[in-house]
């Protein structure tokens, strides 16, 4: 607030009219989420005996990544005024695929299909690094295709997203259970090590930058790989999408589908793209979870928990569940806030039995803050949007 606000002189600079202030007003939710995250994460590091160390950052990054991805996955359909109840299931399914495709066996990984007596070898992944890269791409393709299926059911089947994804989610969990009736499988050790540690470990494992010993690389070596991945995915996938015509159409569909239709925006393409991109993000999450745990696990409660936490992350990140405002960046921060809150339980030595209670209360408190806007409502009708 500048003092010029009281003296309305057109020639003078007024902060409220500056483009920065407008941007801030439009992104109140995002700014609040970032501020809240910074405060609690700083507190966490101050309170942690080994705070501000790379080891703690790496551990946090590993625990945050999957939820951050699933939260991004949830955001895109929510922006289009949909809801994707299948994100957790989709993530689980991709994880189960990954536990087969990324074993990193030197002799290569055959892709088999056993149907009763029928035994087919569809293809063989080469061993070594090539095989791992192909396997990871395959996992992401599977996630994206599953997202595409969601989009097609919603758009061409004209079934409400919430119920359509409830059904496809059951199908994905079914496939995951088919692949992994019991938890198991194996992920290549080097891949696991490279992806879940700091950049320095990554470089020394994949033998780049002089095994990570290059002098210019040293100041960057402490950064955890998961954080780098989140930034890369956000910058290379989300930001270009948001700026594309399809991305803008997603926002338009979410705020007023009728108006978007009358304006000639590609509504169906936007909706399909929203779910497909969601599938891609959830696939990234599932792939990482499998790499991190080095196994595939068709865990139904876990899938449900991720779906529900993704919705919570989206809301905390400042995206409206009604669609049309917010963004995936906010959801990343929403996910990080949720996770950091659970980190606190460890350092403050809160009895494990009380942790779920605190999580619930904090979630409720966070979403109830939104009720403050009730104080600004002048016309009760504004509430019924």
């Amino acid at each position: 607030m500048s003092s010029a606000a009281e003296v309305p002189a057109p020639a003078r600079f007024r902060f409220e009219d500056s483009s920065l202030a407008i941007k801030l007003r439009q992104n109140v939710g995002l700014v609040t989420a970032i501020a809240l995250f910074c405060v609690i994460y700083l507190l966490y590091h101050v309170a942690h005996p080994k705070g501000f160390s790379s080891a703690v950052l790496v551990q946090n990054g590993d625990e945050i990544f999957t939820l951050a991805m699933v939260a991004m996955a949830q955001t895109v359909p929510v922006l289009a005024a949909g809801l994707d109840l299948s994100v957790g299931a989709l993530m689980t399914m991709v994880g189960c695929f990954a536990s087969y495709l990324l074993s990193g066996a030197p002799e290569g990984t055959p892709i088999n299909l056993d149907l009763g007596g029928l035994h087919l070898v569809l293809a063989t992944l080469p061993g070594g690094t090539t095989g791992l890269i192909v396997g990871m791409i395959l996992c992401l393709v599977i996630g994206t295709l599953a997202g595409l299926l969601n989009g097609c059911v919603v758009v061409f089947g004209r079934i409400q997203p919430i119920i359509a994804t409830l059904a496809t989610g059951a199908i994905y969990i079914g496939i995951a259970l088919f692949l992994r009736p019991q938890p198991g499988g194996k992920i290549d050790d080097d891949l696991n090590w490279a992806m879940t540690n700091s950049l320095g470990d990554f470089a020394s494992t994949v033998h780049i930058f002089n095994d990570g010993a290059a002098p210019w690389f040293a100041p960057l070596a402490w950064i955890p790989v998961p954080f780098v991945l989140i930034i890369l995915i956000a910058a290379l996938v989300w930001v270009p999408f948001r700026r594309s015509v399809t991305g803008r159409a997603v926002y338009a569909v979410g705020s007023a589908e009728g108006a978007a239709y009358m304006s000639g925006l590609p509504i169906e393409r936007a909706k399909i793209a929203a779910f497909t991109l969601g599938g891609f993000f959830a696939g990234c999450g599932g792939l990482f979870l499998a790499i991190q745990t080095s196994s595939g696990n068709a865990d139904l409660p876990q899938a449900g928990a991720y779906t529900l936490n993704s919705i919570a992350s989206v809301v905390i990140g400042g995206t409206s569940l009604l669609g049309g405002s917010g963004g995936a960046i906010g959801s990343i921060f929403g996910a990080m806030i949720l996770r950091v809150i659970s980190f606190f339980f460890r350092i403050f030595d809160i009895a494990p039995l009380l942790q779920p209670l605190f999580e619930g209360i904090i979630l409720l408190a966070a979403v109830s803050i939104g009720a403050l806007r009730m104080l600004r409502v002048r016309n009760t009708l504004e509430l019924f949007r």
Binding site: I159, L166, G360, I361
Partner: protein
């Protein structure tokens, strides 16, 4: 209002019910054909077996009745799993004559809190009830220490949930009673009209003089109450309460409501449809377990059936204006 459209609306609402009922018959015929070929018997056609399946289904039916009311006002209640479990745990913990009232009171209170959050704080129900679910889970974990409580259900709970009168499970009578109450509310009271009105357009209902916030709270309270009742009965049926006992009721209850033709966006749907939807899901489950279908196949079939049914009659209209 007396012009013919009333007729048309009726047929639009009846179509899902008729199709779902036909699908139930298909399931029965298909299941019987399977058992006849493999075991040479037809358990699905024996009244005793059907009653037993419906007895298990009555818990889902009671939950779905409450869920339907909330869905009709275009909200959703995701707190059902732990409301149900909390009601069951506290009912068995208190025991004695107060067990059932306590269980119902737990459901009612949770429902009212949900309603206040949604109606007065205007937090989206999707997220508020989710938070309440987490809180209830937290309270119960703290209360039980994370283990299945050792307390047992009272005799009355056992009687209502697990025993039979004239060969018919008592749980079915409870389900019937809940159904009658819900039908009367929806069809014969002003509250029922308000519920449909709010589901169609809350602003319009508000301008027409309906106290929409109070109605919303009442709807959530009813949903909480049914979840509490289901919890008490389920504890009676399985003799005691256990962690996660409500988890298997959330998504099937939503699916049953939607398969029965209730619009997930609210404002349209008949209770008979929900009833048919519950029976469909229960029978589908029992046929799949007779076929010894592994969990993987069950989930896939389950999802496919929901999509299939909705493709037949649940398609929305294209937005063109």
């Amino acid at each position: 209002m007396t012009a013919v459209p009333a007729n048309l609306i009726l047929s639009r609402d009846d179509r899902p019910i008729v199709i779902a009922a036909l699908f139930i018959i298909v399931i029965l015929i298909g299941g019987t054909a399977y058992t006849w070929m493999h075991f040479g018997s037809a358990p699905l056609l024996s009244p005793n077996y059907l009653l037993q399946q419906l007895q298990i289904g009555s818990f889902l039916g009671i939950v779905a009745a409450g869920m339907m009311i909330v869905i009709l006002i275009s909200q959703i209640d995701l707190s059902v799993p732990w409301t149900l479990a909390a009601a069951a745990m506290l009912a068995t913990a208190i025991g004695g004559p107060w067990a059932i009232p306590i269980g119902l009171a737990v459901g009612l209170i949770v429902g009212i809190v949900n309603g206040i959050g949604v109606a007065y704080l205007r937090v989206p129900s999707m997220i508020f009830t989710l938070g309440i679910n987490a809180v209830m889970r937290g309270l119960m974990v703290a209360h039980t220490g994370g283990f299945a409580p050792q307390t047992a259900a009272t005799d009355l709970m056992r009687y209502l949930a697990a025993e039979r009168t004239f060969g018919i499970p008592n749980a079915l009578f409870v389900w019937l009673a809940v159904s009658i109450v819900v039908v009367v509310i929806l069809q014969r009271t002003a509250l029922g009209r308000y519920i449909y009105a709010i589901g169609n357009k809350e602003a319009a209902a508000y301008l027409a003089g309906v106290n929409t916030r109070r109605v919303t709270v009442i709807c959530f309270a009813l949903c909480g109450l049914t979840a509490g009742l289901a919890g008490v009965l389920l504890a009676g049926y399985s003799v005691k309460a256990y962690q996660g006992m409500g988890d298997a009721y959330l998504l099937p209850s939503i699916a049953a409501v939607v398969i029965g033709g209730t619009n997930i966006l609210g404002g349209r749907g008949r209770y008979l449809g929900t009833l048919v939807g519950v029976i469909l899901i229960v029978l589908l489950n029992s046929v799949l377990s007779i076929m010894e279908m592994p969990e993987a196949g069950r989930q896939v079939i389950y999802g496919a059936v929901i999509i299939l049914m909705l493709l037949v009659y649940g398609r929305g209209e294209r937005v063109t204006s």
